[in-house]
């Protein structure tokens, strides 16, 4: 075995060892940010498979969240599998600047094809139509949810 071959093998082994470490870090990265980058960049081979598999919207399943009242009127958010938080906090999905809303006011999440609204212990409460939301409640299509001055509803 010549010296050169052994040198190349040695360097290749170190490279593979570091590749392993970098791959591990890559797995950690996708673990932390994967769900966020996945919808944004449909460039990887495996990624388009998911959106193809998912869109089989049954009848009556909401696809959009529309703000129908308040300062953000007209805003729409496309509904995916991820829960939506509403509040004044910067990390909320729908950030409302409203003195009557709490920083983490309410949460909307999908479960078994339904969207559920849950009040997160807000000061002024969340209202589904006319009734105050005291426990996680399913949201029918087109029924207004009131958070402070903001009114939102789910649409197809």
């Amino acid at each position: 075995m010549s010296e050169l071959t052994l040198l190349l093998i040695r360097l290749a082994f170190l490279a593979v060892l570091w590749f392993f470490v970098i791959a591990a870090v890559g797995v950690i990265r996708t673990d932390l940010f994967g769900s966020r980058t996945a919808p944004a960049g449909p460039r990887k081979g495996s990624k388009p498979a998911k959106p193809v598999a998912k869109p089989k919207p049954k009848k009556g399943e909401p696809r959009q969240l529309v703000v129908t009242g308040g300062p953000l009127q007209g805003t729409t958010i496309n509904l995916t599998e991820t829960p939506i938080t509403i509040g004044r906090a910067n990390d909320a999905t729908l950030v409302v600047s409203d003195d009557y809303a709490s920083s983490r006011h309410a949460r909307l999440f999908p479960q078994d094809g339904q969207w559920i609204v849950e009040d997160l212990g807000s000061t002024n409460g969340t209202y589904l139509d006319r009734s105050k939301v005291t426990r996680p409640t399913p949201v029918p299509l087109g029924v207004p949810i009131r958070v402070g001055k903001t009114v939102i509803e789910l649409r197809k």
């Binding site: 040695r10 082994f13 170190l14 392993f20 591990a24 797995v27 673990d31 769900s35 849950e118 005291t134």
Partner: protein, 454 residues
């Protein structure tokens, strides 16, 4: 919400096995100019074992962290390669005959069996909280069991072994560590409020009340006892350091750390003045290059040979199978890190340390994600135990701190440590499964039942 990441886990596992097989091939090519005949056997048995571990993990802990198993596989496999490589070369040292890759592979098999058994039988790690004091008693018993006449055996000047007829010897201290970490976690969960809040402020640190010092002093006494009676510096340092770290995690009070360090330094200095074998370690640490110490029995020869080896390895190493790590006494156990360093160089050692760091990072992340304080403390404690162990032995081998006889986790030859560390990994996997599992969904129409997610 974290995904299961099964594919990523399987790919990483395959990559780890491929890296290990590549290392085998490299050793064979360099030493005999051909692919070693054992490569397929070793590679396939390692791959088969890890596949089995993966299947158990996928069935019984499907939400577990995807990286822990592949990372451990790589370290364990590289350890196997290094032991194989050391057993292949002719060494002038009599102890080199003890390097046996087949035994180590067998221990790995038993380790995987214990890993699987832990995952299968321990469905909820919180069950361990009920065993707090049982674990404490078991840990103490295991720790002192080598001192029991008839059961304990003294090998190479350290009385840390017990003989089991028909099986051989095991080091109970390795298992005692796990039991004691479980005990610390359970105890601190119950007592952390009083430890964190009671006490008064003096100068810049919050001093605890005198009676709350009790457990710290007891642990200190036990670890000094281990140091004195069993001449086992490593376990003593490991035990006390882990306890102090867990105390800090539980109470977030820096005063405990300061008290702990002062106690340990005081104890170590005292032991150094009184006991010969501790003093000897200090002399070697302070002046390893002294020719007199080098030739002395129990002197600095081992340490210096390790340093020479890493020095001749340099940045890129001599290449697997092309150095002379067989010249280091006990290169296959305590000094496997130095032996590996000679052959894969600084670049490789950094990668290896990164792998250890990533294992610890996954453990600490599990601790952060965990939902109840016991799991948080246990995961934090076990991760710290692993990190601290790597630090103590790598620091010792590189002469950063006085050398203490500890194994390099998963790499050194030795059954007890390997088994105990596989159980440790099983516990981490179990906890990461619990921590990453999506929380139970809110129950509809069930009155005021609410489920909180942090």
């Amino acid at each position: 919400m974290p995904a299961k990441r099964r594919v990523a886990q399987l790919l990483m596992l395959a990559l780890a096995v491929v890296v290990v097989m590549g290392a085998y091939a490299n050793v064979g090519l360099a030493m005999d100019e051909k692919i070693p005949s054992g490569m397929l056997t070793y590679g396939l048995s390692l791959g088969g074992l890890m596949l089995a571990a993966y299947l158990v993990l996928a069935k019984f802990a499907p939400w577990a962290d995807p990286l822990i198993l592949p990372l451990v596989t790589l370290v364990n496999g590289l350890g196997l390669v290094m032991i194989y490589r050391l057993s292949e070369s002719d060494s002038p040292l009599p102890s080199a005959k003890l390097a046996s890759p087949n035994t180590q592979l067998l221990w790995t098999l038993i380790g995987i069996v214990l890993f699987s058994a832990t995952l299968i039988f321990l469905r909820d790690q919180r069950a361990l909280q009920r065993l707090t004091y049982t674990a404490g008693a078991a840990g103490l018993f295991l720790l002192v069991s080598p001192l029991i006449p008839g059961l304990g055996q003294e090998i190479n000047g350290a009385r840390i072994w017990i003989g089991i007829p028909g099986v051989g010897q095991i080091q109970p201290a390795e298992f005692a560590k796990l039991a004691l970490v479980i005990f610390f976690a359970g105890y601190l969960v119950a007592k952390r409020d009083v430890l964190a809040l009671a006490g008064r402020r003096l100068l810049f640190i919050d001093l605890p009340r005198a009676r709350d010092l009790g457990p710290v002093l007891i642990t200190w006494g036990v670890s000094l006892g281990v140091l004195v009676m069993q001449k086992d510096l490593g376990s003593s340092l490991l035990l006390f350091g882990t306890f102090i770290a867990m105390l800090y995690i539980a109470t977030q009070r820096i005063s405990w750390v300061i008290i702990g360090i002062l106690l340990f330094v005081g104890g170590a200095v005292l032991a150094g003045l009184v006991f010969d074998h501790v003093q000897q370690r200090f002399e070697v640490f302070l002046n390893p290059g002294d020719p007199e110490l080098f030739v002395k029995i129990g002197g600095s020869e081992q340490l210096m040979q390790g340093l020479f080896a890493m020095g001749s390895g340099g940045i890129l190493g001599t290449g697997l199978g092309q150095g002379h790590p067989e010249l280091i006494p006990l290169a296959f156990s305590d000094f496997i890190f130095a032996a590996t360093g000679e052959e894969i160089g600084l670049t490789g050692l950094m990668a290896l340390l990164m792998v250890y760091a990533l294992i610890v990072e996954r453990g600490l992340r599990t601790s952060i994600a965990a939902r109840d304080p016991f799991t948080k403390l246990l995961a934090g404690g076990l991760s710290f135990l692993l990190a601290w162990q790597v630090f103590i032995i790598v620091g010792g081998v590189t002469n950063l701190i006085p050398l203490t006889g500890l194994v390099t986790p998963f790499m050194s030859q030795g059954g007890s440590a390997l088994l105990a560390n596989w159980i440790l990994i099983a516990l981490l996997v179990r906890m990461s499964d619990a921590a990453r599992r999506p929380p139970p969904q809110a129950i509809q129409d069930e009155g005021l039942t609410q489920v909180f997610q942090r």
